[in-house]
Subunit: 570 residues, 2 copies
Amino acid sequence: MPYRAPLADFRFLFEHVIGLDRVRATDRFAEAGADVTDAVLTEAARLAEEVLAPLQRPGDLHPARLDGDVVRTPPGYAEAYRAIAEGGWIGIAAPEGVGGMGLPMTVATAVNEMMAGACLSLQLNPLMTQGQIEALDHHGSPEMQALYLPRLVTGEWCGTMNLTEPQAGSDVGALRTRAEPNGDGTYAITGQKIYITWGDNDFTANVCHLVLARLPDGAPGTKGISLFMVPKFIPDADGNPGKRNSLRVVSLEHKLGLHGSPTAVMDYDGATGWLVGAPHGGMAAMFTMMNNARLGVGMQGVGVAEAAFQHALAYARDRRQGRVIAGDTDAIADHADVRRMLMAMKADTFAARAIGLSCAVAIDMARATGDEDWAARAGLLTPIAKAFGTDTGVEVAEAGIQVHGGMGYIEETGAAQFLRDVRVTAIYEGTNGIQAMDLVGRKMMDGGEAAFRLLEEIEKNAEGARANFPNMAGATWAAAETLREATEMMLTREMNDRFAGAVPYLRAFARVLGADAHLRAARAEGGTGPRSTLARFYIKRLLPEYAPLLVHMREGAAELYAMTAADLAP
Amino acid sequence: MPYRAPLADFRFLFEHVIGLDRVRATDRFAEAGADVTDAVLTEAARLAEEVLAPLQRPGDLHPARLDGDVVRTPPGYAEAYRAIAEGGWIGIAAPEGVGGMGLPMTVATAVNEMMAGACLSLQLNPLMTQGQIEALDHHGSPEMQALYLPRLVTGEWCGTMNLTEPQAGSDVGALRTRAEPNGDGTYAITGQKIYITWGDNDFTANVCHLVLARLPDGAPGTKGISLFMVPKFIPDADGNPGKRNSLRVVSLEHKLGLHGSPTAVMDYDGATGWLVGAPHGGMAAMFTMMNNARLGVGMQGVGVAEAAFQHALAYARDRRQGRVIAGDTDAIADHADVRRMLMAMKADTFAARAIGLSCAVAIDMARATGDEDWAARAGLLTPIAKAFGTDTGVEVAEAGIQVHGGMGYIEETGAAQFLRDVRVTAIYEGTNGIQAMDLVGRKMMDGGEAAFRLLEEIEKNAEGARANFPNMAGATWAAAETLREATEMMLTREMNDRFAGAVPYLRAFARVLGADAHLRAARAEGGTGPRSTLARFYIKRLLPEYAPLLVHMREGAAELYAMTAADLAP
């Protein structure tokens, strides 16, 4: 079943749920009217459906491979990449001054979701470049910006992020890659990096690696880390790719999925690099790149969830099996248990999409207004959008396999590929455990202010809905209130108690945000229609999960250590 | 990390949780004393650890393949199969009269779990044969029993189950395979069967297919289905494999996992078959085979959960990353969020194992005493053991990937293989949705009597524990009571309302059964020690999930149909 971009959902969310009108009311994004965003989404949908979606299976069957020192990409990827680049989609949110479209992050986020849903393994490439554009736009020198940004925005060159080393994964501060000054303003970068997404390819003229490394006087830990631009080919005086730099792809990983996307082990052997931002300021630059990427990865989860849902729905509407008791067809989609699965898949995908787009709205508002509250909201929502978006991707892909029955286990069906592909999104750009720790740690350093502000809005929305939707409004209000109390309680706890309940807390938060989005959708629809039915399904059957999650969260850490890790062994 | 059979858990469960003493007190199983069962488990553990576990990765890397008309199995499988057969493990629960060990199903279930945990793809072969032995023992003619049983029990021949056809999966009654009388007491079987596990191999002298087909006068639906024995080679007068039968493997499936196990499309072209049981009595015979297999499949889930847990634990105890706040090591196993995952994995695996073994005890008691109540309990627990065991397998394998971080996505690590392999167990032998519908439908045709009897025992156990363990006992009692009320309510509902909540209901039931097992473990341990810590973890943090599950269940079907399947499309 071919992928269909969920345009109606985007339009509905833009107008009725996430409040894009506030973004449009700013000077910066005044031109992003409904006619413009609609045209943009329609064009991106066409690309996703017609150009990217047909590459989903071929990318799995013909993995990227290392051929000598060249990375060969799956058939069709080069052409599709060019279509993405020529459509201007890489620079959709980049400043117009460097050739970007200058559109709101909200629109870029929707576009990225569609491309990820259509072909995740290829979409990863422009997503990485977008992160690099963001980092250079904020931290690069004017010369570096002038040289790299236009070429990245057009897709002539692409970008990668080089953070991880074998001993330095979640703990970036443990990295060992060295940067020695060459005396001419450049640095010699030496070290090995792993898990480098799209570490090389055979379709861009250059590959620009942003590499975290330590200067000779860099302190141990994260405070001594600097960021360097290390291009595969060193640009000549005209800005064309010149001499080959001393870096190479050592090998590509054999992964559970995303076979179309080359994940490289990279070796830097005195490679020439240029400092990005201040010495020892690498973490700040990295977080710029990473926060952007975290929302993008969350939307990858949503995109795959949408694709896996559509795939399962099409199968369930076609497959006849057993006696159907209710519904208007004799297909398995009308079996109660299959219907339950399909509705849960759709309701969660909608919730995750709304959370991701709300995060994007906050980013846009922060950029357009400079308002600290909006920046804090973006910071709060980013780990939730990343973790819940990707968890939803995994869960919906799982459910999609189950809807297919035995066919779900056969690779030709394509249902299993969604799970294999999306599984890593819950891991990369910071595992979902790291996201949860970010939420209860760094993102609560404001004393919970951003969280309380958001929960107030949710309670207010619920109060406004109470007259017409007493049950849904009451359940949403009660959940938000319980979450508020749990947040207050958590703020009194030691950090390890917070960490012990971080993952359940994040999920409970997402459940409440999802209820708020569904309630807004039901209100906008007037309470009758598919969106209202879905809202009732979500609020009555999925939202209640928040209660035991918060019970779990409140238990804290002590009991986890009443036995040792050795005691856990058989 | 090598697989270690969880012998201590089995011993503890046998003595303190599942009440194997009652089985031992019967005449039939009087010889299965602790010394005997201990020796048996120890020997099986050795086989699992030393012979089967080393084949886990090779079976994935060297899939079974069709070479002309011969199925080639992965390197080492033939030798390991012989070791299983020669150890007598195929006939562990088979009657001694046909060469079996005549041991309780409880012991066989533990042995099967170990073999599945060590190498699921190979263990599937003997599991299928065990189901066939069971079916022939109950439904075969004396001549058929004399011919087949000894050869199946020794593993000289092996057995398969042929149920599914492209249009007849969960709905077996839709099958089209025909059986025409040959006039000499045999039948000509013609049709195509799919998803035939271990449809052929290159290490047994014969492959005995039990095939569901319809006689010329067979009514449509399940009532007109008969069961036939259709051997690959027709036994000659001496019982040796003779003439090749008219059946063949058309192709092998490309599956998400279990690459070592050949899943065949089988073609029967007038193949000679012998009727098993009464004409049109195929479903009864199939259910004998299937009920056995369902418990076996549930324990496959538990076995893989155990293996995936051990694999993740070993990694987490070895891997150092980031600053550890609590615990006695600096490994990631002492990070609160990783500890949370590991404890949930172990606690759920223990619960699922206890449920499966309790189901086996009920089967043993029913066989040994003929007591209908025990048979009803076995019937009630079978779908729960199957669905919760396999869901736990999938969830623990998922969590195992997450514990590994980026390494979990790299195939060489082995973490992803557990998920790929175990995923099908939630589908085959009746999807977990079908199990749940069996629980709320067929297994409640006694007016809930078996369920209420079991819940009474659980409440009684909780009451007995209240003095020493007020919190755990109180929570378990309250959960059992809520489940009792939900069951009563459900029994008043139309079947489609039951089906709409069947999966959440089954899971809530499993949560309560798990709490009962953990509480018994804590009582037996005296409240201090790792088992008690795990019990508190489970009862405080995992059990509470039952409440929203039962809320979900109570909602019923109506709202699921307030929108059509077409409304769900984007």
